[in-house]
């Protein structure tokens, strides 16, 4: 028998009375990723999926999908054998024989079933001995093995060579909801990914400045959101018409305050959408000091327009670190497409890096804030992204 052996974050298994609900959510998310008909078997600290009827391609597709589910630590494709040391050893030998290039190995054992007569060390050494007997010209190397044979003794014995690393984190939707300000850049998708990894359900918001930004810029954000949905299952995206607000600010406010006032509108609109969506937080991709709008003073002034926590998971990261994550999660290549920032009209020559709240607030008096924000929210286009592609919920 063959099974996928799914390890999940110890953070989940260490939960107290809530553990069951976290595990159930994780199972729900795994099923959503691989198809609801899948039977996920729950064991203490592990989950199993029987894969006897599936082809190798189907299995590797399944592994790939499960590896994107937050909360999963790793996936192993295991042979399931009786809890008998000889059978375990033979199974390991058979697996190793399929890999003729491997010269050195070691056995790593986890004994979940404490009733099993041998302890972990003893199991490893017995299995190692059987492998040495069965597989010609192979050696044990405890420190630097080319291959690790994993043995787990639980309800059955599990033997597997390769362990596919997953994202870790907490099950998606286990930690409330947040509104992600998604531009088309490198940072904001990473910020969304990081918060989603901690279990926060993400609703994305994009500010569209037609005709100053193109349909392709919007498509790019849609593509980024659907990339994120590979991890989250699905994602809702608000496309907020932003031109009128920008034009009004340009006409009625000081040039050096354009950026800060614009940011405050973005936050206020996201806050309004949060109320609508029942979300209790905002998420931005800001990193301290990266650009003029990301100074501490700017963050202080922008945060004043909302009454909920603003998560900035990248605040202490360097650009290089952010780019690394963005490459790893697959958003980088979309982010670097050139469609954004075609228009410099909204970027002041010398933006204020240390705006003062009282100054900004008095500048904003020239604007009909309430109506501008309401109009923008009401005229938003809402798109749902996920495995079913793009689904427009409401049009602009």
């Amino acid at each position: 028998m063959k099974r996928l052996l799914i390890k999940y974050s110890s953070e989940i298994s260490l939960k107290g009375l809530n553990r069951g609900s976290f595990e159930n959510l994780l199972i729900h998310n795994i099923k959503k990723a691989i198809g609801n008909s899948a039977n996920v078997i729950k064991d203490y600290g592990r989950m199993y999926i029987d894969i006897d009827g599936d082809s190798d391609d189907e299995v590797s597709e399944m592994v790939k999908k499960i590896c994107k589910v937050f909360g999963v630590l790793s996936v192993g494709v295991a042979d399931v054998v009786e809890k008998d040391i000889i059978k375990i050893g033979e199974c390991a030998s058979a697996q190793l024989k399929c890999m003729p290039d491997v010269k050195t190995f070691k056995v790593v054992t986890k004994r979940g079933d404490k009733k099993f007569p041998l302890n972990s060390m003893q199991i490893s050494s017995k299995v190692g001995a059987i492998v040495l007997d069965n597989v010609p010209s192979i050696k044990v190397d405890i420190h630097n093995p080319e291959l690790i044979i994993n043995v787990e003794v639980r309800d059955n014995a599990y033997v597997y060579l390769k362990e596919y690393k997953a994202q870790a984190g907490m099950p998606y939707r286990s930690a409330g909801k947040g509104i992600l300000l998604l531009s088309g850049g490198i940072d904001s998708p990473v910020a969304g990914y990081m918060m989603a990894k901690r279990g926060l359900e993400i609703v994305a918001v994009y500010y569209h400045s037609h005709p100053y930004t193109s349909e392709r810029a919007k498509q790019k954000v849609i593509d980024l959101a659907s990339k994120l949905s590979e991890y989250t299952g699905s994602i809702k995206l608000y496309v907020v018409p932003f031109t009128k607000i920008q034009m009004d600010i340009i006409e009625k406010c000081r040039e050096d305050e354009l950026t800060i006032i614009m940011r405050r509108f973005m936050m206020a609109i996201a806050g309004r959408i949060a109320k609508k969506e029942g979300a209790l937080s905002l998420v931005t991709g800001e990193s301290l000091g990266q650009v003029a709008s990301q100074t501490l003073e700017s963050m202080y002034v922008t945060d004043k327009v909302v009454d909920m926590p603003v998560f900035r998971p990248l605040v202490g990261m360097d650009k290089i670190e952010i780019m690394d994550i963005s490459r790893r999660i697959g958003t980088y290549d979309i982010s670097i497409l050139p469609y954004e920032d075609c228009c410099t009209i909204f970027v002041p020559k010398h933006p204020k890096t240390k705006p003062r709240l009282s100054d900004v607030e008095s500048s904003e008096k020239a604007l009909d804030k309430e109506n501008l924000i309401n109009d923008a929210v009401e005229n938003s286009e809402i798109i749902k992204l996920g495995e079913n592609g793009e689904q427009i919920i409401s049009k602009m």
Binding site: P211, S214, M247, I250, Y339, C343, I345
Partner: protein
């Protein structure tokens, strides 16, 4: 008003008849023209008729035409098929990327390339050209009509100048923008090779042709079954080729009438654009510019922003510079005719087909007024 499509130099809408012909070929003439049976012969006939029609479009005969996957492949075949490392090539500074990038590639391969400048109309500097011709000049590749400004090069004079100094130099002309838009007679022009594309004349995409004068020693880019006189292997794209043939025939019918109409559309546009402040015509209506292409700079407005604003009224145009294209690329054609950056950034290309109307121009002018007064609200 429906869709106003003023982006005909990017591509044209295929004629209904062309679509039907393509479908008909896929449905009923699907055999491989190389097959020995009668269905093969039937498909071969489709290709034969198309070859005659395309040849006629440029005053040539069918044995000089090979079909390709489009204008870019025709350009690549013409250039890379002729030169070898160590050869000298002459081209202009305003060629299509499929020529320009090929030249840059060949420079790395050990060819020497002279890029000839153009004047403010976009016309090649003839003295510079004459001065560049050398003993080992193997190829001169100059486009007939530029895709952004519509400038028409004096190909006849160019050929004469080149042949006077170097008889063996081959002359290639990219006729993708000119074929079907002005009368072309490759024999009279005396060029050795000419590139054509179907989708610029209401034909299907993915098909083009290269005209090759006799006695050309051309190396193919694609080797294989030896189709297209051994110069372009690969099973013929019969539906595309047949659609191309039909499009060539349709554009040839009353071509003079079509040209006259397009010129009227352009002239009317230029007349009316005077109602708009800060609109500078970069491609006037004269003998040096094609009637199909009108390039205008709208000062103080980014071309790309104007493009997106026009979309709201279902008016579709192009900009040369901008990142709205697949990759952010710098426009090199408009600076080459001496336009300053602010004129380049604000340039929009309206490109017409004979199917466009005066009414469409009037509607567009009205919309331009509305849009510009909105966009110019902000001075920056």
């Amino acid at each position: 008003m429906g869709i106003i499509y003023f982006d005909n130099s990017a591509t044209t809408k295929p004629h209904r008849e062309v679509i039907d012909e393509v479908a008909e070929c896929m449905e009923n003439h699907f055999a491989n023209p190389s097959s020995a049976h009668r269905l093969g012969l039937d498909a071969e006939k489709k290709v034969k008729v198309a070859r005659e029609r395309v040849a006629r479009l440029i005053g040539s005969s069918p044995e000089h035409i090979i079909f390709t996957s489009g204008g870019s492949e025709a350009n690549n075949t013409a250039i890379r098929g002729v030169v070898s490392p160590g050869d000298h090539i002459i081209t202009s500074k305003i060629e299509h990327p499929s020529v320009m990038k090929t030249m840059q590639f060949l420079e790395k391969e050990g060819c020497e390339v002279s890029y000839i400048g153009v004047d403010s109309r976009g016309i090649i500097n003839m003295e510079e050209l004459k001065g560049a011709i050398k003993e080992n000049t193997k190829l001169v590749s100059i486009m007939h009509v530029n895709n952004e400004t519509g400038t028409i090069q004096p190909i006849y004079d160019i050929v004469k100048a080149v042949k006077e100094k170097n008889k063996r130099a081959k002359i290639h002309t990219d006729c993708v923008q000119s074929a079907g838009k002005i009368k072309i007679d490759v024999e009279k022009l005396g060029i050795d090779m000419a590139s054509l594309s179907a989708h610029k004349i209401h034909g299907p995409k993915g098909v083009g042709a290269l005209y090759i004068r006799e006695n050309q020693a051309l190396r193919p880019l694609i080797y294989g079954g030896g189709q297209e006189m051994d110069l372009r292997s690969g099973t013929e794209n019969v539906p595309g080729i047949s659609g191309f043939g039909l499009a060539a025939k349709m554009i040839s019918d009353d071509m003079e009438g079509k040209i006259k109409h397009v010129n009227e559309v352009k002239s009317h546009f230029i007349d009316r654009i005077s109602e708009i402040d800060g609109a500078v015509v970069n491609s006037p209506a004269d003998d040096f510019h094609l009637g199909n292409i009108l390039n205008i700079s709208f000062l103080g407005v980014k071309g790309e922003v104007l493009l997106h604003a026009l979309e709201d009224y279902d008016i579709f145009v192009s900009t040369g510079s901008a990142c709205s294209a697949r990759r952010a690329h710098k426009n090199y054609v408009l600076p080459a005719i001496g336009l300053k950056p602010c004129y380049v950034e604000s340039a929009v290309r309206f490109s017409f087909s004979y199917l466009n109307t005066i009414d469409e121009v009037d509607y567009t002018i009205e919309k331009l007024k509305t849009i510009l007064s909105f966009l110019r609200r902000i001075k920056k």
